[in-house]
Amino acid sequence: MTADPLPAYGEPRRLLSDVHALARRVRLDQRLTWVTLLVLAVVTYLGIWFDVHFMSVHCAADHVCRFSRQGVLYYWPPALLLAYAAIAYSYIRVARARGLGARVMPYAITGAVTTLLFTAAWVAERIYLAGRALADNPQPSPPWVLFIDRLIGPWGMIGIALLVLARLERNFALFAFTAGYLAVVLVPINFGWVGNGGNTRMYWVPGQVISATVLLLGAAGFAMARRRRR
């Protein structure tokens, strides 16, 4: 850059191009995508243990089981809130060290709101199902119910919040990654581990392993891309 004034006709395009290039460089320097995905991957892996360990399963003699995923309800709300706080703190700290402000707060707020939304939905579902007989809840549930259930779960809400982050950072790569992640989360994957009795605890494990692994691979990919750019 020079200090020359620029009244010439040929210059507006160059000036505008410089403005866009500088803005883009700032956005790149503000990003900490790989840390976000790494934190969310770790939280998701830990959540698997809580889900399996604290799930209450009661099977009748006719192999009809009533289960309650208490681990999800007790682990995920505080875990996600802590994760978003940690991500916001990391963004602010790293941006500050680089000499920049951070634009992470709307993401952290969205994350907190989606966490509350998922918690409220799960509590409402528990209250709704608690007083009903198994026969009143026919299985399998309609596909749209399963879709909403997967979307409103913590894994779907992570994706919704990531879309907000991609928009904030104008990060097309993160947007594309999140679209793929949401597709994986919203498609039921169980490797045929559908079972009764003891296997009920493992029913949701494959999907969660896949979600966490996708996040972890994303973290690795964004970290490598950042290192290459430097």
Binding site: M1, P5, L22, G99
Partner: protein, 115 residues
């Protein structure tokens, strides 16, 4: 007469603000707008300027009330942070709009660009 920018009424170059329409100062505004808050050292690196040169440009922008400069310490290290004022944000948006208008005029005009 209003303050709105009408491309048909006047040539966009007549409304250019010399404080903003300067490569370095426009760069400072663009970076600060995108960063929300930027440190002196980051600006100096990105704009490839000496400290003295950048300080002069920042003084011009501060005198025009387009930026605010905040000096402080982090540990024993002095740091200077720059933020954009609402007037600075408006000036940057106006400058970018005028630049786009200028480009559009050049592209639609019969006048050769390198005249």
């Amino acid at each position: 007469m209003t303050g709105a920018f009408d491309p048909e009424a006047a040539h966009p170059i007549t409304g250019l603000d010399e404080v903003v329409h300067q490569r370095v100062r426009l760069g400072v505004l663009a970076i600060t707008h995108e960063a929300r808050r930027v440190e002196f050292g980051y600006l100096r690196t990105q704009l490839d300027l000496t400290a003295g040169n950048l300080s002069k440009h920042l003084s011009v922008l501060e005198a025009a009330a387009l930026i605010e400069i905040e000096k402080g310490y982090e540990g024993r290290r002095g740091r200077t942070w720059i933020t954009l004022t609402p007037a600075g944000t408006a000036s940057l948006a106006d400058e970018i709009a005028r630049l786009k208008q200028l480009i559009a005029r050049v592209e639609t005009s019969d006048i050769p660009e390198d005249r």
